[in-house]
Structures are given as C-alpha cells and as structure tokens.
C-alpha cells in the first residue's frame, strides 16, 4: 500500500521545508492558487470522500461548503491539534515529523473557505511539537506560502499557532472555540453551528490535523486517486495508533477496510508474552470496547466498526491481554472522564463522577450486584442528553465494559477483589 500520511516521516529532517519541498511539498498549494478556484478545491476534497479524522467522520468537503460565501464577517480556519483522546498519538507524530504537510493543508483549506486568518490550536503539553510547528510556520512565511500575496496569487493568510493549557474538552470543536476566545473550554450549544457562527460568532471551520495533512496529497494527486483507496463509504487511508498489550505499538497507516484481526496479529505482531487477547478499544478511550471474540470479520472503516457496535473514532487502538482486570480498566476510563468533564451540563457533570465513584467502589471490593445496572442506567441517562459528545464518550465505554465483561464484574463483586490476581 502506498503511504500517504506517513510518506515523509522516515526521511531524515522530514520536518524541514527543504525536505518537504524536495518530496513535492507545496506543489498542491501552488497548483491550487494558480489553477483552482476556492470552490474547485472544496469540490475536489468533496470528491475524494475524505471524512474528518478527529473522531466524528463528517465529510470534510461538505463541512467546508457550509461556510456562507456572502458573509461580511471574517472567516476562520482552525486546525485542531489538541490531540487528547486516550490511546491516540497520531497527530503528535504528524506535527513532529511532517509539520509542513499540515501547514500546507491549513493553507489549502483556508483558501477553500476564503479565510485570511487561521489558527493551529495545539494542546499545551506538546511543547516539542509546538517548537517544530513554530519553525515550520516561520519557514512557510519566509518562503512566501503564508502572509500577504501568497505565491503571487493575491491571496493573504495569517497563521497563528495557539497553545492550549491542558483540558481534554478543548478537542471538542466548540470547546476549542471557547478556549480560543480566551475562555473556559466550554462547548457551545448547537445550533448555531461553527460553520456559520464559530469563533467570535464568525464562520469557522475546525479540522483535525490528520484531515488537513492529507489535503495536499488529494489536491496534488487528484480526488479520484484518493477515492480509489478504501471502501465505498470510507475512503483513503487512516492512521491507527496502537498501544497497550501489543508487540509492536506505534502509528500505522492503514487502508480503510483492512481486516482488524489481521492488523492486530500480523501488522502489530499480536499480544506478546504468550498471553491472549482479551479486548480491544478500537477508536480511543471514548469508544465501546470489543471482546476478543467480537473482532472476527471486523474491518477498519467507519461502517464496519459501527456494525460491530463500536466506532472508528480517532483510531486509538488500545489492546488488553487476558491478565487485564476489566473492573480496573473501566474505572480508569471513568476516572479519566470524571477528571475531564467540563462541568457545564448536569448529566455529564454529575453522572461522570457518580459512575467513577461506583466503579472505584466495585474495584476496591465494596460493590454490589445492583451497582452494575445502576451504572448502565446512569450511562443511559447521559447518552444523547448533553451539550456536546463528551457525555456519550464518557457513558458509552462504561456501559460497554459492563455489558461485555459482566461475568467478571459480578465475580469481582462476589469475591470483593480482582478475580485475575
């Protein structure tokens, strides 16, 4: 399979402009500015079938087309580099190893929606990534790819690198906007949607790093080539981050639709230490876990994952072997969400902590059988009833762990301790 997103990362000094250009970098930008109207760029991305890689999988070109063309307000393009989903570290790799691909993607997307101010919102903890990006942006300015009259086209764009300060919720696009407005990272009620009322009430597009990083390739190579890769509804390649009990952890670029079992066992080398696979979370900690027996036949694309009762999410694959206590695991995830709940709406603010407290109690041996149904009920009372998808993200995995490992939970409760140790 031809690497698209990871095509540059193994090259020495791949983060520099020189290397990026030597590998065809910024060719797409020059082409777009010279030969394509903004609408044409959007159409091309639409035709590629590219879907947002931040987790929701919304068609990227369609999202861009929601920006009103006749708006008198400024328009903003924001690259969401607030990668915080547990199990996900693909954007960090792109930022550190191929920053110019995302910068070029940012410029192309900004051109497509006719924005003249773009931001990269990078999570504050990624200090090294911020340094790399800062340098890349400076190089791009110097080379005339940013600033006034880019490549003599008359198109202007300012790009601001904005560092966050530590809050998972700022990865949610409207939480990100609140944060970028100088506030708490509180998600906003929708409607209105960011494409019409985003940053400071102006039309705004927020795209994930991986989404933007692939745009130059699509413009350079053409939508048809991209659309030829993957499945009918999940086009192209996607980055998967593999962590946990796996022989070869890391970031993999996979053609959409690739068999999941084969990926885990062959590409990633399977579960090490003679242990067996017990479960795997395929799309970051907010997605429902799959038992070992559930991954048979599952393919790595949006539809297949959904059919299996989970979601592709951000591509954060967390592997658990048979020595893993699922009570502790569920509690660990519940604690994460309790810690990261922004506290804005009632079900999430109260429900996440409530679930965390019950999981902790079960873990330490004070659980009761009725607690399991109580968690399922609390989870159900959060799902679909919050301002942003965080509520679902916290509630879905909690329910999934109980439903899929109920025997272990009940035994843990009965014995008042972990049954595996």
């Amino acid at each position: 399979m031809e690497k698209i997103l990871l095509r540059n990362i193994d090259i020495q000094d791949s983060h520099t402009l020189q290397v990026y250009e030597s590998r065809g970098g910024y060719r797409a930008l020059r082409k777009a500015l010279k030969e394509m109207t903004p609408e044409r760029v959007t159409e091309e991305v639409k035709a590629s079938g590219l879907r947002g890689r931040g987790g929701a999988g919304f068609p990227t070109g369609m999202k861009w087309s929601f920006v009103p063309k006749d708006s008198l307000k400024p328009k903003y393009l924001i690259c969401n580099a607030d990668e915080s989903e547990p199990g996900t570290f693909k954007d960090r790799l792109l930022i550190e190893k191929d920053p110019h691909a995302m910068v070029e993607g940012v410029i192309l997307a900004s051109y497509a929606i006719q924005s003249h101010t773009a931001f990269i919102y990078i999570r504050g903890e990624l200090a090294f990534g911020a340094k790399v990006l800062e340098r890349a942006i400076a190089e791009a300015y110097q080379a005339g790819y940013l600033g006034k009259n880019i490549s003599g086209s008359g198109y202007d764009l300012e790009l601001i690198l904005h560092r966050g300060a530590g809050a998972y919720i700022c990865g949610e696009e409207t939480g990100l906007l609140s944060s970028l407005e100088g506030g708490r990272g509180w998600p906003k009620v929708k409607p209105p949607f960011p494409a019409t009322h985003g940053l400071f009430g102006c039309p705004t597009i927020v795209n994930n790093v991986e989404t933007l990083a692939v745009v130059p390739w699509i413009i350079d190579q053409g939508a048809a080539r991209y659309a030829a890769i993957g499945t009918e509804k999940s086009k192209g390649t996607k980055l998967f981050c593999v962590s946990g009990h796996i022989r070869n952890p890391g970031v993999y670029e996979v053609e959409m639709g690739y068999p999941f079992r084969q990926f885990l066992e062959e590409d990633c080398g399977g579960v090490p230490g003679g242990k067996k696979l017990k479960g795997v979370i395929p799309g970051g900690a907010s997605m429902p876990v799959l038992r070992a027996d559930e991954i048979e036949g599952v393919r790595m694309d949006y539809e297949s994952m959904q059919a299996a009762g989970t979601l592709l999410g951000s591509g954060g694959v967390i592997v658990m072997d048979d020595s893993t206590c699922m009570v502790k695991t569920a509690w660990n995830i519940a604690r994460f969400f309790a810690h990261e709940s922004c506290g804005q709406c009632s079900p999430c603010r109260e429900g996440c902590h409530w679930m965390e407290k019950i999981f902790a109690r079960i873990d330490n041996g004070s659980g009761e059988k009725a607690d399991l149904d109580l968690i399922l009920n609390i989870s159900g009372n959060i799902i679909g009833r919050t301002i942003c998808p965080f509520g679902d993200a916290a509630a879905m995995p909690a329910a999934a762990f109980i439903k899929k490992y109920r025997d272990e939970f009940e035994e843990h409760i009965r014995q008042k301790r972990c049954v595996l140790t």
């Binding site: 300012e158 966050g164 530590g166 100088g182 962590s243 946990g244 952890p249 995830i333």
Partner: protein, 157 residues
C-alpha cells in the same frame, strides 16, 4: 510591589495580542507567559493579566482554574507529571508512580522540601505507544522502566 512583565515579555505580549482578532483571545497564551515570568499564577499575577488584557479578574481566575497546566500554587523546579491513563496504566504507570513517590519521598500532589520536585499524576499525554511515560517540565520521557525512572531523577539532581 506590583507585578509586571519585563520589557522583553511586554514586547512579546504586545506582539502576541496584536495577532488575535480580539485581545481576550490571547488570554491563555498570556497566562502561560505570566506563569513563566512569575513562576506561578498567584492572585496578583491574575489581577495583572486581567488588567492588561482588559477582562474582569474573576474571568481570569475562572479560566486559570479550568486548565491543568496553569498553576495557582508554586511547583518545584522540576514538575514531574506521570501519565495514569489507560494505555500507560496497562503498561505499568502505577509502578512508575510508586517508584517516583518512594524515590522522592513525597505523595502525588506534593513538592519535595527542597523545592526541586513536584509530583503530579496527569491524564493522557498522547504518548500511548511509548507507555508508560512521564513529562518533566516540557520534556517527555517514554518507555519508562523503574530503572529508567531512577536514571531520569539522577540526571535532574
């Protein structure tokens, strides 16, 4: 004495604020600057930022309390943040934290009496493929083992 930015930081502040569509949008980077300059964000520092960025002090206080990287209390010379989230937990994060606590003689959330080390447990730092991991100030230390934790601490002394 009233806190204020050094001339150099003030220059960077003005340049930064000038790039944003509204002054208040620069609040978080300005708070990060203030934290670097003043060590931590004590009340006077937040009042100062509120003044220069023209926002109510309560707003600044509220924002600081929301973000884990903004500290209202002083932290040690080395702020050790050990990840506790699932991928790291699966790979032995608890053992790493225990090692750090024993070596430093402090609990999570505490600072050593010499003011050198503060130990914090944090959530996912996007380094799951190289778990377990910790961050010391701005640097990542990955694929940790207890021996590696010892080495890192030794190198910081």
């Amino acid at each position: 004495m009233a806190l204020e930015f050094s001339p150099e930081t003030w220059r960077r502040f003005e340049e930064l604020v000038g790039r944003y569509p509204k002054k208040e949008a620069a609040l978080i980077p300005v708070l990060s600057m203030a934290q670097k300059e003043f060590g931590h964000l004590r009340l006077q520092a937040m009042e100062y930022v509120a003044k220069i960025i023209e926002l109510p002090a309560a707003r600044v206080y509220s924002v600081v309390s929301f973000y884990t990287m903004l500290n209202m209390k002083p932290v040690g010379k080395y702020h050790i943040q050990v990840c506790r989230t699932l991928p790291c937990a699966l790979m032995g994060a608890e053992r790493m934290a225990a090692r750090l606590k024993r070596k430093l003689g402090i609990q999570v959330g505490e600072t050593t009496s010499d003011g050198n080390f503060t130990l914090t447990e944090v959530e996912c730092l996007a380094s799951c493929g190289t778990a377990p991991m910790m961050q010391v100030n701005e640097d990542y230390y990955e694929n940790l083992t207890e021996a590696k934790v010892d080495d890192v601490l030794e190198s910081l002394k």
